[in-house]
Symmetry: C2
Subunit: 410 residues, 2 copies
Amino acid sequence: MRYSQLFSKTKFEAPADADSINAQFLSQGGFIARQVAGVYNYLPLGLRVLVKIQKIIRDEMNALGAQEVLMPALTQLESYIQTGRQEIDVLFHLEGHGGKFVLNQSHEEVITPLVAQFAFSYRDFPVAVYQIQNKFRNEARARSGVLRGREFNMKDLYSFHANEEDLNAYYEKVQAAYHRIYARLGLGDITLLTYASGGSFSKYSHEFQTLCDIGEDTIYVCEKCKIGINKEIIDDQNACPKCDSKDLVQKKAIEVGNIFKLRTRFSTAFGFTYADEKGERKPVEMGCYGIGPSRVMGTLVEVFHDEKGIIWPESIAPFTAHIVTLGNQPEVLESANELYTQMQNLGVEVMIDDRDESTGKKLNDSDLIGIPWRVVVSARSLKNGGFEVKKRCEKDAKVVDAKTLITMIA
Amino acid sequence: MRYSQLFSKTKFEAPADADSINAQFLSQGGFIARQVAGVYNYLPLGLRVLVKIQKIIRDEMNALGAQEVLMPALTQLESYIQTGRQEIDVLFHLEGHGGKFVLNQSHEEVITPLVAQFAFSYRDFPVAVYQIQNKFRNEARARSGVLRGREFNMKDLYSFHANEEDLNAYYEKVQAAYHRIYARLGLGDITLLTYASGGSFSKYSHEFQTLCDIGEDTIYVCEKCKIGINKEIIDDQNACPKCDSKDLVQKKAIEVGNIFKLRTRFSTAFGFTYADEKGERKPVEMGCYGIGPSRVMGTLVEVFHDEKGIIWPESIAPFTAHIVTLGNQPEVLESANELYTQMQNLGVEVMIDDRDESTGKKLNDSDLIGIPWRVVVSARSLKNGGFEVKKRCEKDAKVVDAKTLITMIA
């Protein structure tokens, strides 16, 4: 992509309402633009990051054998009355031709009767279905950029089982898949499986909490087992569930995923039973597993940045390489364009900043946008033998020729 | 994909509320499931088709140089008050923390101020931005399956220009891109550029109308020029705009796209001006260009079907080949599985129906689902030298060996 052609450029200042690092850098860098509190537009660079996060999650869901569907946001209020969740405070209500509707804040009310249309006998289980879709929550206070939104992107997986043992076994598999997702996102080391309240369904649910000083949540960490306990249950569970140690360290964290054994809470509400081997009706056991790509995007920025801007992990960066031309000499533009074409032909995702702007502006923008490899092309770099390459996460640059450069990056 | 593993199988009967061929076959075939009138779930097969339609459209938008973004559904009512569209009858209204909201039925109210944040000078134009996203319309009567929905998928492109000439030139380019899209969807021959009312913006807008007896629209066709005139303007325009012939044939058609010169209608409402070469402020000229992937999916079924089910064009079929095993003999299952693996390794998108069901049921399901190539594996086919292959759109099958089969399909 030619940055000169991109309509959504960096801004000199972050918007006054940016209440967090992610809101600040993502807005200023041209990744997102706020529509209204808690509701964002994804600009081309931001959409590229979002799609990459979605792709990693989709890969791991498919590897689990889960089947992708797409459910609607608009749903009849009756479905929520059936589960007794019509009073949930984050539910948006609306009326229209055809009756009273809500916007789904989660999709148990849709997926349960949907799967019930197709699964009747023990032979039809397990079933695992997921989607990547926008959720709507009427949050009293939207905040922290894309971390807590009123409209936000979500991957939600639902699993259906003939018995609790099968649910438990699948739940463990999803846990492992979640760990793989965070590892691929670059968050593996600092994202902890965390015990949290199970609500009325089961003793505990599990969250995935990414350690971060600005996190909304407080967790108690067993550093040996890399396991967290959410503050909300610390009175009931004051020791590591794995090693029983009470040597726990209080930390701040961002919840980046939540997995839940719903058991028969929703299947019962919708009368979703199946016939077992003896032909007896049994209630279906369910699990649900959420992870929000837009929230992950905000978390990545909260974790990976310095005072100048974002430092994207390579797996989800909008581009791998950022060619920056300095000066307008024909040989600079020519070499840069040649390198750009060469990289594109090799399948390297590359953006070229070919604008006629000052050195300071262009290097600042490059730091703000945070693409992993910066490649400066200038009269000086060419005189010194080629291209000045620097990783965004490192301090030192070096000048290398095109061949070496491509070996480094590709 | 193994059909035995797919949770969303065909149904014996179409739902009683299916009011059209597309609702009937898409529901019965396990592509979609109705949530509430005009609102559908996309099941795995249906989502595969939808994504393929989106991919063709995205390709052509990117080839135009348009930049993809993702705008929200939820938007402040104020934006619609600013354009005077707050009374549009299809607008869904809702209230929540943070004020009064609407769900976007189109995105002029979002994209115009968004692009205005980044484009200030004549040098910043033209700008072309698109998204593929769900729209919400409070239709008095949702009908015809996925043809007229209350929540539906839409690609909307918006272009911004410094002057009318540039808008006109770009408008022609988009027209050509739309023709390429319909050609790739298999609808090229029967989809006509059609003159329609321009509303208050310009004399005419243009629709793309696919000829189909169940279409809601009536158009008058110049068969020589392959151009249509929508009945709504036939009193003003009773001759072919290209050749002036009055030899027009009345036909029914489904609107599958709409392109519109908005001119300065929305830029004026949002005070979006730019500085021209002399530093003078000028209003920005705009165009908008819509095409609904979900509506296209319904149209394809209305056009391509027979009494047994859907006949998907290859470009957007959920799979290219459908292997159907008949009988449970070990050599049948083994040969079928070997072929399945072989095709997958060659990158052929293949589904295998490995269920233990009757011949009639399996062949009926195959016809209903409508995958382009059916490959029957049975004791008889093996005895006759291999696999019985038949195109969904043809009558005759023939038995060929694996190598010949793969050459035919891949």
